[in-house]
């Protein structure tokens, strides 16, 4: 699977922060006002009255893998091919079995299929600006709709919890979170004498990596946020901060490789789930400027798989991939 996201999605993710006015409340989770069998839930699209214990949930976008992992009572989902390589066999089987009520794009929502699924809750996991591609009013005529979309990359933790909470599926979610945090703590202890002392840089592979440029990901980005839980320190910050992922990653010219990574002790780079190197990253690895970097000359470059993790289950795979990749650091 290519880890490059489509421009529309990335742009939409970016715009999500701009339109923070329609984002979720800082507290997340449900409001206190509860009625018999329902509760008021704060989402990107406002305060929505939803069932306290939903029985038939439709999920789309980023909410799909979250709901499957959390064991939510799903009756329909959107297609989510980009997440397939990161699913467990069991989750993948569930994903394939579920009725698809929407395509990969928000605009490909099949309203009749949603209605046929007879949901009592619809959870839309797309960035707030992409909501414009969806006829929310039409969906609201079918069931309560809560939109909980991605903002900055590292916020997947809070957003996925909120999505699971809306669907009343926090029990399994919390177990996955606990497993992740335990594993992260274990790895942090394992690498505590090595990682925190090093300056890391990361070459990413998602978004608009145009010809002649590369993606540099800083702390809090997709390619770095899980490694940070292990104690990795990615240095630097974007030259011009933008909304969403643009606040933690940028796309400089290949000529800026020495300036970007000249100080790095260790360099990591994103690879596909099958270990293959994305074209945009391969371009960097083949550059003579890359081969001139001190970290590269010292042999301290490490591929990282599953850098698109947006659920605790997926992030567990990322942790394993990081441990496998960085293990040589412990021997030096």
């Amino acid at each position: 699977m290519s880890i490059r996201r489509t421009s529309g999605l990335v742009g939409a993710v970016s715009l999500a922060l701009v339109l923070a006015g329609c984002g979720s409340s800082s507290e997340g989770g449900p409001d206190t006002a509860e009625q018999s069998g329902t509760r008021v839930f704060t989402a990107d699209n406002g305060k929505i009255t939803i069932p306290a214990d939903p029985k038939r949930v439709v999920a789309t976008g980023y909410a799909v893998p979250v709901m499957i992992e959390a064991g939510a009572p799903l009756v329909g989902i959107s297609s989510w091919q980009r997440g397939e390589p990161m699913m467990t066999d069991e989750d993948l089987a569930t994903y394939k079995k579920l009725t698809k009520v929407a395509g990969e794009q928000a605009a490909e929502t099949n309203y009749e299929a949603v209605a046929e699924a007879e949901p009592d809750l619809i959870v839309i996991g797309v960035p707030a600006p992409v909501l414009g591609d969806i006829d929310v009013k039409r969906l609201e005529s079918i069931a309560p709709v809560v939109a909980i979309g991605p903002t900055v990359p590292s916020a997947w933790r809070e957003l996925s919890r909120k999505q699971a909470d809306a669907a009343g599926a926090l029990k399994k979610f919390d177990a996955a979170q606990d497993a992740y945090e335990a594993e992260a703590a274990e790895l942090a202890a394992k690498y505590k004498d090595v990682l925190p002392k090093l300056k890391l840089g990361h070459v990413g592979a998602y978004g608009e990596v145009a010809k002649g440029t590369f993606q540099r990901e800083f702390g809090g980005s997709w390619g770095t946020n899980v490694a940070e839980d292990v104690g990795a320190k990615y240095y630097g910050k974007v030259k011009e901060s933008g909304p969403g992922s643009r606040s933690v990653s940028e796309y400089p010219s290949i000529e800026e490789l020495p300036a970007a990574f000249g100080e790095a002790d260790v360099l990591t780079y994103s690879v596909n789930a099958d270990g293959s190197v994305p074209e945009s990253v391969q371009y960097v690895l083949d550059s003579k400027l890359w081969k001139n970097l001190p970290a590269v000359k010292a042999g301290k470059t490490f591929p990282i798989r599953y850098t698109e993790a947006a659920t605790y289950g997926q992030a567990l795979k990322t942790l394993d991939a990081i441990d496998t990749s960085l293990a040589p650091l412990l021997k030096r």
Partner: protein, 341 residues
């Protein structure tokens, strides 16, 4: 190349040959200066003296690597692509006797884009070599089809090219709308760029461009006669059919190779012939020579702009030439008048 009898230069051209040579030499000096500048300017500035050292006394420092392995190949590509598009433009405008003709009017660009789209949909146009191969294939097949249908007259040729462009563009657009991943792959190719080509297999397309430029120079005298009209050309002994066929082949190779390696770059093929028509004084050989020099200058300047316009990253050169091309065309029309067109 042609059996055309020697054709006299236009009287005006004969009188101005010394200034024309001086202008050509001046153009070459300008080209050299812009080329050195283009290797010094970018995200990481390199002083001109260091640029020269990088080329002739390479020590493998970051500056030297940038000049020799990133900007050097890029400047050479700009020269090749700029010359190819400008000369192709000069040839098609002369051949079609249409001042609005540009290389893409024969459908070559649309053919390359269509092939890239289909190749991406099939999962075959992957990587720079894959894209290059499909672009060349699309260009050549389209040109062959256009030539086969429209070879009898310039008007028929242009109409066939325009019609095929519309058809191929429409089908390709439909495919891209249905397949978002294909659209994603296509959009990076569709905006012409000279960036990141230093690792691509460019020897063959660049060699094809160089050979075609030489061919264009050899053919230009015969085109002088054709520019006067078919009847006059035949009276002068020019083999109209053969000249036109060879010109078509050259235009196809020049435009196809340039589009394959850099993507569609608008305006260079349209604007450069207009800018050099006045000093060429009605002589097709001088028109081709000047286009061969000014095309690279224009593209190098645009490429420098593409590197410095954004604080981070680059603007594809195709966008810069589009921005430059519009005003320059208007300036040329106002400066030289409609007669020059």
């Amino acid at each position: 190349m042609t059996t055309a009898a020697p054709v006299s230069e236009a009287p005006a051209a004969g009188r101005t040959v010394v200034p024309q040579i001086a202008l050509l030499v001046g153009g070459l000096v300008l080209l050299a200066a812009v080329a050195v500048l283009s290797m010094g300017v970018g995200a990481r500035p390199v002083p001109p003296a260091e640029v020269v050292r990088a080329l002739f006394d390479h020590h493998g420092t970051d500056d030297h690597v940038i000049v020799r392995d990133v900007r050097g190949p890029r400047a050479l590509l700009a020269v090749a692509v700029g010359a190819a598009l400008a000369v192709a433009g000069a040839l098609i405008q002369t051949l079609a006797r249409n001042p609005l003709a540009e290389p893409g009017i024969l459908g070559v660009t649309a053919g390359a884009g269509f092939a890239i789209t289909v190749g991406s949909a099939l999962g075959l146009a992957v990587g720079q070599a894959g894209e290059l191969g499909f672009a060349v294939l699309g260009s050549v097949l389209t040109a062959l089809l256009v030539a086969a249908v429209g070879r009898r007259s310039p008007l028929r040729l242009v109409l066939t090219g325009v019609a095929l462009t519309a058809v191929l563009s429409g089908v390709a657009l439909g495919l891209r709308l249905m397949l978002p991943d294909v659209f994603d792959a296509y959009r990076f190719w569709s905006v012409g760029s000279l960036a990141a080509r230093e690792q691509a297999p460019l020897a063959l397309p660049v060699a094809a461009i160089v050979a075609s430029l030489a061919g264009a120079l050899l053919l230009s005298r015969a085109l002088n006669a054709l520019a006067l009209g078919e009847n006059v050309a035949q009276t002068l002994g020019a083999g109209v059919g053969r000249v036109r066929a060879v010109a078509l082949v050259l235009i196809t190779v020049l435009c196809g190779a340039a589009t394959a390696v850099a993507g569609p770059i608008l305006f260079v093929g349209l604007i450069v012939p207009h800018l050099v028509r006045k000093p060429a004084a009605g002589s097709v050989p001088w028109l081709v020579l000047y286009a061969m020099v000014l095309g690279p200058v224009l593209l190098l300047v645009a490429d420098i702009g593409s590197r410095v316009l954004l604080p981070t990253g680059e603007v594809p050169v195709g966008i810069v030439t589009a921005f430059l091309g519009g005003p320059m065309l208007i300036w040329a029309v106002r400066r030289y008048g409609a007669g020059s067109l």
